[in-house]
């Protein structure tokens, strides 16, 4: 049995690592594609790709998924040839590589879902095997560029080309020799940080580890040589590397000299990765973070208990001032700890959006629309759980934009717009723990009148009303003229994900002929929520504070049955400040025995423009809780968002009143029909 568990844990690591490598692979393939389009070689992307696939192959081999090994191997062969040769891939080769990476992705997904992994597609492997490497251009580089022979021998033609091109474009070539040591690591200089910092001021062409005699300067007996191109001052580079740099070559290349035979560069990858420096990053399974969070929730609960006990002591006349001081401090420390744990769960939005360019590429090919995609996520971050849920909605909006909004290139030219349509995604970090993701296009805009005609409704007057109409369940499916959009979710699902699942906000702005923008305002994190403790019947539930507009005392005289049929038990009309609200007895909605107590309170919630009052016994208090989603199909119920623990070990349900109000709607007509 323990074997099985070990394998499972290992699979988790395999999946997360492989997915990250696949993202890297896709990013580099797209980068290669754009340099190929410009007729430029891109040795760095070829090498990054090779590195990613080489690692994927190794990982897949360890877990014994041979179809992935086969695919990665075939890709590796193509890339090795490209690296030794020209640093280029032909368009066809890039197309095939994208297909093969997709095939790997599909198989990784199969592993994740514990399904049988299909064999590698034979035709794809064959096609990869038959690719002819692009012939290298005559090396325009002659001369050593001042690089010492040992290092020069390790440079591939493509790298030499990259160096020569860089120098021709006005960069200077520097050699940095970095000697790792404990003292340097303590000062923050490891090969990893040096690479990162140097990459910000220059272009790293090559990093080669070299063993050397142990000395005070090089206690590890190891040196790294970095070849860097930069236009900036040498001091900047020296500062980034924490060590002096040596200028090798600038504009006038050295006198021609026969180049040494190029050695394969790829051989030293493994060597490189084994010389790993102390790590600055660790990969953590999300389950472990969740575990830390649940431990934290237990702490929050015990603080709650402690607080109660202190209050009880106080009531008995004990002087509790010192205890209260400690409690305040305890509270602040818990807040800090919570913030620290939440930070570990944050993922960069840029990473979340890394798959969008690939999607756009496919869509623009399928639809014949020319699309320029701009993504500017800055350094915005989101909780992993929020990111996972919002991604399908973003995909849908991107699909819609390309499918419906962006006009065909000829039409755009006629309209005096650039041939390429623009799809832009950017982020704004907002106050109060919210992030705004905006998705805009410069396409044809949404024709409100046409939408209204199709829905058989009156034309909406505002963008908000238009969005309402578009998000009517089933509306988007009316228009499945194209295959691409038909596959996606409807606008109603997008709205549901943003506003109900994530308790965020979705807005629309559109101008006919000019374009459309959607703004998604999302909470940065989901899990810790400020809630009201409410009593309903004799049971206790919690309701997120953010969903409640107001708490009111229900006046029985204002509850009107009106013309409602007897089937709509527990539903009343309630007049409040000259507004007619729907009052729902929560006990009836949840099928709980109500109490006899006539004095009830009500929670006012609002769904779009409709107001609801949920009648409860009373509000008992307010506190922060950790919400655990309820995912098992056995216990999925409308209006129940999750469960939490208030300290007695018994789960307490977290109610989603807005969801519950939707549920009432849907079942109501059915009950009437059955009468």
């Amino acid at each position: 049995m323990s074997d099985v568990i070990d394998l499972k844990q290992f699979l988790g690591g395999f999946l997360s690592e492989t997915n990250e490598l696949l993202r890297t692979a896709n990013t580099n393939l797209l980068a290669l594609e754009s340099s190929t389009a410009k007729g430029l070689p891109n040795a760095r992307s070829v090498r990054e790709l090779y590195r990613a696939l080489h690692t994927i192959k190794g990982l897949a081999g360890m877990v014994g998924v041979n179809p992935i090994v086969d695919l990665a191997h075939a890709l590796e062969t193509v890339l090795r040839a490209a690296d030794r040769g020209s640093g280029r891939l032909s368009r066809d080769a890039i197309e095939l590589c994208l297909k093969a990476v997709k095939a790997i992705e599909d198989r990784v997904n199969a592993v994740a879902k514990q399904r049988e992994v299909p064999p590698a597609p034979a035709r794809l492997l064959e096609a990869l095997g038959q690719l002819e490497p692009v012939a290298p251009k005559e090396p325009a580089v002659s001369g050593t560029l001042g690089i010492h022979a040992e290092l020069h021998a390790k440079l591939a033609p493509a790298e030499l080309q990259q160096l020569a091109d860089g120098i021709a474009e006005g960069s200077r070539l520097y050699l940095i020799e970095f000697l790792p040591s404990k003292a340097r690591a303590a000062a923050g200089f490891t090969i990893t940080t040096v690479r990162e910092r140097v990459a910000q001021v220059g272009e790293i062409v090559k990093v080669v580890p070299r063993s050397m005699k142990q000395s005070a300067e090089a206690p590890g007996g190891l040196a790294f040589e970095l070849l860097v191109l930069t236009r900036g001052p040498a001091e900047k580079l020296a500062e980034a590397a924490g060590t002096p740099v040596q200028e090798l070559a600038a504009q006038q290349p050295a006198a021609p000299e026969p180049a040494a035979a190029p050695a394969p560069v790829l051989a030293d990858f493994d060597e490189l990765s084994e010389e790993a420096e102390p790590l600055t990053f660790v990969r953590v399974e999300v389950a472990r973070l969740d575990d830390a969070l649940s431990k934290l929730s237990e702490l929050i609960v015990s603080r709650f208990k402690l607080k109660r006990e202190i209050a009880a002591l106080g009531e008995r006349g004990v002087d509790t001032r010192a205890l209260l001081d400690i409690d305040v401090l305890y509270g602040l420390q818990l807040d800090d700890l919570r913030a620290a744990i939440m930070r570990t769960r944050m993922v960069p939005v840029a990473e979340l959006l890394a798959r969008i360019p690939l999607l756009v590429r496919g869509l623009s090919r399928d639809t014949g629309r020319a699309v320029r995609l701009e993504i500017d996520a800055q350094d915005a971050e989101l909780d992993k759980a929020v990111g996972d849920r919002i991604f399908p909605a973003i995909v849908h909006l991107v699909r819609n934009a390309i499918d419906h909004a962006i006009e065909p290139p000829e039409e755009r030219e006629r309209l005096g717009k650039p041939r390429e349509g623009l799809v832009r995604i950017y982020c704004n970090t907002r106050a109060s723990n919210q992030l705004e993701i905006v998705l805009l296009d410069d396409g044809r805009g949404i024709d409100a009148a046409a939408v209204a005609r199709r829905a058989g409704r009156e034309a909406p007057q505002t963008d908000a009303e238009l969005l309402e109409l578009l998000a009517t369940p089933g509306f988007s499916t009316l228009d499945q003229a194209t295959t691409t959009s038909g596959r996606g979710l409807g606008m109603d699902i997008v709205k549901r994900i943003v506003t109900m699942d994530l308790r965020g906000d979705l807005t629309l702005r559109t101008t006919l002929g000019k374009g459309t923008s959607f703004s998604l305002r999302l909470p940065l994190t989901l899990t810790i929520v400020d809630v009201f403790l409410v009593q309903c019947g004799n049971e206790i539930f919690v309701v997120p504070v953010s969903s409640v507009e107001e708490i009111i005392e229900v006046e029985p005289a204002k509850k009107l049955r009106g013309p409602l049929p007897p089937t709509s038990r527990g539903i009343f009309l309630y007049e409040r400040r000259e507004e007619a609200l729907t009052l729902v007895e929560l006990s009836t909605a949840l099928r709980i025995a109500p109490t006899e107590n006539p004095a009830k309170q009500g929670l006012v919630v609002r769904r779009s423009s409709q107001g609801f009052i949920f009648e409860i016994e009373r509000v008992l208090g307010q506190q922060e809780v950790v919400v655990r989603p309820i995912e098992d199909p056995l216990v999925q119920a409308t209006g129940v968002a999750g469960a939490t623990d208030l300290g007695n070990g018994q789960p307490v349900l977290v109610l989603d009143l807005i969801g519950l109000s939707v549920g009432l709607h849907r079942t109501q007509p059915r009950t009437e029909v059955s009468q």
Binding site: M1, V4, Q114, D291, S294, K295, E298, L590, R591, I592, R628, I630, D632, P633, L634, V635, Q636, A637, T638, G639, V640, A643, D645, G649, Q650, P651, V652, L653, R666, T667
Partner: protein, 144 residues
């Protein structure tokens, strides 16, 4: 080849589950009922930092409810990625059963149990029924 099984009682019959599917056993102190779910779902319980649904096996087998006693147990099981609890009258034994000792259940029994019984085995002194766990947990909640 012999396989370890956890044995438990519901009503007057005895059932087994492979020990590899069982995470641990707990005593039962009540569950939080989730409105709108099936009657056979006793509700949610907290166990080792997780919230898991508990299936009331008596209700699932159509037996009248029993007053909970000190013997009442929740068997926490794992099926794929799902974790769930089974509320049973008692669970006290681990049996080492030969794989060959399992037989298909009699047709009528299989039919009447709606496929919940996968096999029966005769041990030294009595008969035990092997539960079809995915089938048992496969039902969806009634709420839409």
């Amino acid at each position: 080849m012999s396989v370890l099984h956890v044995a438990f009682k519901v009503g007057d019959a005895e059932y087994v589950l492979p020990a590899s599917a069982v995470l641990h056993l707990e005593s039962f102190a009540g569950a939080t009922k989730v409105p709108g779910t099936a009657d056979s779902v006793a509700g949610l319980v907290h166990t080792r930092g997780q919230v898991v649904p508990v299936v009331d096996m008596r209700a699932r087998f159509g037996l009248p409810p029993l007053v909970r006693s000190l013997d009442t147990r929740v068997i926490i099981v794992q099926v794929g990625t799902r974790t769930a609890g089974l509320l049973v009258d008692s669970a006290r034994e681990v049996l080492d059963l030969e794989a060959e000792s399992f037989r298909d259940p009699p047709e009528l029994i299989e039919e009447q149990s709606m496929g919940l019984i996968k096999a029966v085995a005769q041990t030294a002194e009595r008969m035990v029924m092997l539960i079809n766990l995915p089938k048992l947990l496969g039902e969806k909640s009634h709420a839409k």
